[in-house]
């Protein structure tokens, strides 16, 4: 069986959610079938500028075929088109123009998919919102499996995607909430699919003490991992945390790991570490009392799964249906809708080691039962077998 994984960017150093998700799945599926990744030469998701060499390549033993991006994204122009599409009455042609501007515009990739459809059994497309998925699925609908990685943001309501969700042979969802949302906006409940998600590469050993000594972190802390960005809810996290400290006098600190696109408040108890290697991230998780996830838009949140794999409880933003649902299903995390709930839930987590232990243990069990690599691989293989039998 030959599988093609189609994704907007691909590389060992690319750590974006959907791209990393695709790489891990491709690497794990390569143990069961002949796998090839079809992607662009882009490295940067803002401009999609060609970076990698054209043609064949290999990443961690998985063959990769790269196609040139014919037009770089101009962020200002894209912003204007997006503003028009999101905020005004518009036509389908405007949405297609938005898709064109969003990119990564790689017609060679779509042409290759169309011409070599017979060489592959299935094409697994990652991220519904980009050029490669929209046109790629249209080129080979009967052989395509879509992993949408969709969030409840304005893009999901664009008309061009309603049909798209009805075209593929199957859809692999990240969560029950994502499936419900897509069913609701596109009415695609007839398209076969499964809720699968992704596992994680948790190191065999990690040490909170090592993280503390390497980065000079003292005392109890809660951890945030991810891009420090407005859409990730970081400004509200900073406000809530500082207000919590003022009102309760808690000595806890907030440690941030990730690159920052907005200013971090200059407060001695908010420690921004910048982007750190994977081992440091897991060391930080090991030393944390809990992981806090203030994001409004998530289709899965791999870092929450990693926290649960490490037996750590989480505190999540309840405005994100996926995070709320994951916390309720796993019984491994608390959530908040406003500052009052944030204060109560964080105080409860910080003040009760028994609760942290119990939630963490539930998290680990939930991770093992649903997101261990064996489970993920089995679900993909079962879906493919089911499609073959239809």
């Amino acid at each position: 069986m030959k599988l093609a994984f189609v994704v907007q960017r691909y590389g060992a150093a690319i750590s974006g959610g959907a791209e990393l998700h695709c790489r891990w799945i491709a690497e794990h599926m390569s143990r069961h079938s002949d796998v090839e990744v079809l992607t662009t030469r882009a490295d940067d998701y803002i401009t999609w500028q060609n970076h990698y060499r054209r043609g064949r390549d290999a990443v961690n033993g998985v063959p990769v075929r790269r196609f040139g991006v014919t037009r770089r994204r101009r962020p200002e122009r894209f912003g204007r088109v997006q503003e028009h599409v999101f905020r005004n009455e518009h036509r389908e042609a405007d949405e297609l123009r938005w898709l064109d501007e969003e990119g990564p515009r790689a017609p060679g990739l779509v042409r290759y998919i169309r011409r070599h459809a017979a060489d592959y059994d299935y094409f697994i497309f990652f991220s519904y919102r980009y050029y490669h998925s929209y046109w790629g699925i249209r080129a080979v609908p009967e052989k395509s499996i879509l992993v949408p990685t969709a969030e409840r943001d304005p893009v999901i309501h664009l008309r061009i995607f309603r049909d798209l969700f009805n075209l593929p042979r199957a859809i692999v969802y990240n969560s029950v909430e994502e499936r419900n949302m897509i069913n609701e906006v596109s009415g695609n409940s007839g398209v076969p699919g499964d809720v699968v998600g992704v596992g994680s590469e948790v190191p065999a050993a990690s040490s909170g003490a090592r993280f503390r000594s390497a980065h000079g972190v003292e005392g109890d802390y809660v951890l945030y991992v991810g891009r420090i960005d407005e859409n990730k809810g970081c400004p509200s996290l900073f406000r809530n945390f500082l207000r919590f400290k003022n009102e309760t006098g808690s000595p806890a600190r907030l440690v941030l790991i990730g690159s920052s696109v907005l200013p971090v408040p200059a407060h001695p108890d908010i420690l921004s570490m910048g982007f750190l290697p994977e081992q440091d991230k897991f060391d930080a998780l090991d030393g944390a009392l809990a992981l806090v996830m203030p994001s409004f838009y998530e289709s899965l949140s791999m870092v929450i799964l990693e926290a649960w794999a490490m037996g750590k409880p989480v505190l999540a933003n309840a405005h994100c249906e996926v995070l709320r649902g994951q916390c309720l299903r796993s019984n491994a995390g608390l959530f908040y809708e406003d500052y009052g709930e944030f204060r109560e839930a964080l105080a409860l987590l910080l003040g009760s080691p028994e609760l942290r232990r119990a939630l963490g243990a539930n998290g680990r069990n939930y991770y093992e039962a649903n997101y261990s690599w064996k489970r993920i691989e089995d679900k993909y293989l079962a879906l493919i077998r089911r499609l073959g039998g239809e």
Partner: protein, 157 residues
């Protein structure tokens, strides 16, 4: 803080997050947080940007005035926009391909130039070495000639 944790009824052997969150909500309802100064702001999604102001108003007025002609103008405009977009995209694609080809050619020419300079330098060095060798051989020949003459002279004597 410790007191806060102890006030909750939690079965640690079978934690029920839904039940804990109900207790949290009840506690927040009973003891709501004191509203913060404006700097605090709500915990909601990022707000939408403000309306466009004068520009928006002018656009609306223009639309209102042009309304009677819109049924004829819109299809024409749409067709024109679509055609223009299509042609622009085709041109951009062609130009991008040409640009890419030109870039590759320039790269190859650059490599060629670099290799030629390298070869020329090597040849120049080789030429210098050969010239030195010739000079040495000439000297040796000269010495041998002198020696030959000296030996001949000795024999004749």
């Amino acid at each position: 803080m410790e007191k806060s944790a102890m006030d909750y009824r939690i079965d640690y052997d079978r934690v029920d997050v839904a039940d804990i969150m109900n207790q949290v909500k009840k506690r927040v309802a009973d003891d709501p947080p004191v509203p913060e100064a404006p700097a605090g702001g709500p915990t909601g999604p990022p707000p939408a940007p403000a309306a466009r102001g004068l520009k928006g108003l002018l656009k609306k007025t223009a639309r209102f005035l042009a309304r009677p002609c819109l049924p004829f103008l819109i299809p024409l405009y749409e067709r024109f926009k679509f055609r223009l977009n299509y042609e622009v995209n085709v041109r951009i694609d062609e130009t991008s391909t040409r640009l890419e080809t030109t870039r590759e050619t320039v790269k190859l020419l650059h490599n060629l130039g670099h290799n030629l300079v390298l070869e020329l330098t090597k040849l120049k060095v080789e030429e210098e070495a050969l010239k030195s060798k010739v000079r040495v051989l000439e000297k040796e020949l000269e010495i041998l000639g002198k020696r030959e003459k000296a030996i001949e002279k000795r024999i004749l004597e």
